[in-house]
């Protein structure tokens, strides 16, 4: 798969929403360990609304499903992650427009997301936030795009692995933002809930892309990161 149609993007994001909703308990448990325990609730609320929006009227621009999901998260979730996951999906207000989505366009989109997340949240890599998963994922996308040889599905898979490693790495960090900040060293050993969500988002995108990629391997359902 070299480009995604508008419909591909819509279906992929529906799959993401479904995966996040199914991960509610997992995300709440992660947030209970070093936050206030509500991360899964907010994400479920936001992505339930997003799924409804995606089920709704047709889209004629491949960036619009992303923006719709983002706006939906921003206006329904509340909490830190409402805005942050909102801009993660929305990218920037000054967005591109295109009927299909190439890897390069997708990469530019997430680069704008990353910049916006960092601008608003003021977190950097190593601060134990979702940036720790998003930043390596975006870097990986950029490398795949620059190589010019990688398909969308493989690029998303690589980005998902990078996001997952980044999320895992947060176990070794103390938090500088969010509710875990005051925990100090007591946050060590726990994964950041937002980084975990971010990894799940990229994994769900990679899974969908592989499932709908002629050349892609069928994904093994056992690697699904839900807790249903």
């Amino acid at each position: 798969m070299r480009v995604m149609t508008v419909e591909d993007v819509r279906r992929m994001l529906l799959a993401v929403a479904e995966r996040i909703v199914a991960s509610q308990n997992l995300l709440c448990a992660a947030d209970r360990a070093i936050g206030d325990g509500d991360h899964g609730l907010g994400m479920r609320r936001g992505f339930t609304a997003a799924a409804e929006r995606l089920e709704g009227d047709g889209f004629d621009d491949a960036f619009v499903p992303f923006r719709s999901v983002g706006d939906c998260l921003i206006s329904t979730m509340g909490g830190a992650s409402g805005v942050l996951f909102g801009v993660l999906f929305r990218g920037d207000v000054e967005a591109e427009s295109s009927h299909t989505l190439s890897l390069d366009e997708l990469t530019r989109h997430f680069e704008r997301s990353l910049a916006e997340v960092c601008r608003r949240g003021r977190a950097q890599t190593g601060d134990k936030t979702l940036v720790d998963a998003l930043e390596p994922a975006v870097r990986s996308l950029r490398q795949s795009a620059d190589s010019g040889e990688v398909g969308l599905a493989s690029a998303l898979r690589a980005a998902a692995s990078a996001a997952r490693s980044g999320a895992e790495a947060t176990k070794g960090y103390v938090a500088r933002f969010g509710k875990a900040r005051t925990l100090g060293e007591r946050a060590l050993g726990f994964v950041d809930p937002g980084a975990l969500s971010t990894a799940i988002v990229f994994e769900a995108m990679a899974d969908w892309a592989e499932d709908h990629d002629g050349q892609g391997r069928r994904r093994d359902p056992a690697t699904s990161s839900t807790d249903a």
């Binding site: 907010g42 509340g78 909490g79 409402g82 805005v83 608003r120 005051t182």
Partner: protein, 340 residues
């Protein structure tokens, strides 16, 4: 599960509906949000507060004479989304701009900032004061990273009065920021509450243990240890407060002994007794003494002590009439009538 609710997902909404069922003569819902607004906001700077629900009376009831003109709740322990904040602010904005007053939490800042951008893009000036009274949340050098807890009461009250006094946005902002900078709080808890619908407490502590400096969402504090007596706990907390903001004899302070939810009024009075001894021993002039549940964290068992260091400017606004649904004007005993 011991809570009297209907549906965990409807708690935030029904709390606001209940508030209006009782106080609907003065306040009105902001449609499509968990926000409420004064029916008749003044022709003045609009003061708007908000944050996650679950801390009632914060923020829902921090509205009224000498308080905010509108407040916007989020879901339990979650900041409200930007569009809800914008709608709430617009309900009371009257051409003099908006002052946001809310607790310094990442989620609140992100959502209120995005709301501020939207309002500013529409030509409405916005200024923001984030409550940072919890001295346990960060060292003094990084005071702007501190969380907002019960001491936000003082800043809210002064901000509301400054706006009612007719100051312009910059001036209201300056007074409110000054009130925030002059306020210190510290909390302690011995048992956590549960989120409605949840079964696990927001934080757990072995029986007979307490934690000083704990946040309003169960964020860890600075000192966990065996239960102290009320007097010991009050003394330690007063020491933290005075360390962080030294006081001179003769200074004028306002105090709030705040219950976090399940603490009995008897305990709060036993604490207040010792706090009063501490203040008197330091020769401070107690301008006003509040006691009660002014900022809660579900049915958490614990309390916080907040001190506002008054100066002439703050006092002018502090002494203006103020009334909210949870609030009773405080009153301090003259030092000589308080027995040791």
């Amino acid at each position: 599960m011991t809570k009297f609710i209907n549906d965990a997902d409807r708690v935030a909404a029904e709390t606001v509906e209940g508030f209006l069922a009782v106080h609907g003569a003065e306040f009105v819902a902001v449609p499509g949000t968990y926000g409420v607004a004064k029916r008749v906001p003044g022709d003045k700077v609009a003061v708007v507060s908000g944050g996650g629900s679950g801390h009632e009376p914060v923020w829902l009831e921090y509205i009224g004479t000498g308080f905010a003109d509108a407040v916007c709740q989020g879901d339990v322990f979650a900041a409200p989304p930007p569009n809800a904040i914008v709608a709430t602010a617009r309900a009371v904005e009257r051409g003099h701009g908006v002052l946001f007053v809310y607790g310094n939490y990442a989620g609140d800042a992100l959502n209120f900032d995005m709301a501020a951008e939207e309002l500013q893009a529409a030509g409405i000036p916005v200024r923001t004061v984030r409550i940072t009274d919890d001295l346990a949340a960060a060292p003094a050098e990084r005071a702007d990273e501190r969380r907002g807890i019960a001491g936000g009461f003082f800043t809210s009250r002064i901000a509301g009065s400054a706006a009612e006094a007719g100051l312009d946005l910059e001036a209201v902002y300056a007074v409110a920021a000054r009130a925030n900078a002059a306020t210190r709080s510290i909390g302690v808890a011995s048992a956590g509450g549960t989120i409605p619908g949840g079964h696990e407490p927001t934080f757990t502590l072995p029986d007979g243990q307490m934690e000083i400096g704990l946040g309003m969402h169960g964020e860890p504090g600075v000192r966990r240890g065996p239960m102290l007596t009320a007097d010991e706990a009050a003394d330690q907390m007063m020491a933290y407060l005075v360390d962080d903001h030294p006081v001179d004899a003769g200074e004028r302070v306002c105090v709030l002994v705040n219950g976090l939810g399940a603490t009995t009024r008897a305990e709060l009075y036993i604490i207040a007794r010792r706090v009063r001894h501490n203040l008197d021993a330091r020769g401070l002039h107690v301008h006003d003494f509040h006691l009660g549940n002014y900022a809660t964290s579900q049915e958490m068992h614990g309390f916080s002590i907040s001190v506002l260091h008054l100066d002439a400017q703050l006092q002018r606004y502090y002494d203006m009439p103020a009334r909210a649904s949870f609030f009773i004007g405080g009153q301090a005993a003259p030092a000589e009538v308080v027995r040791a």
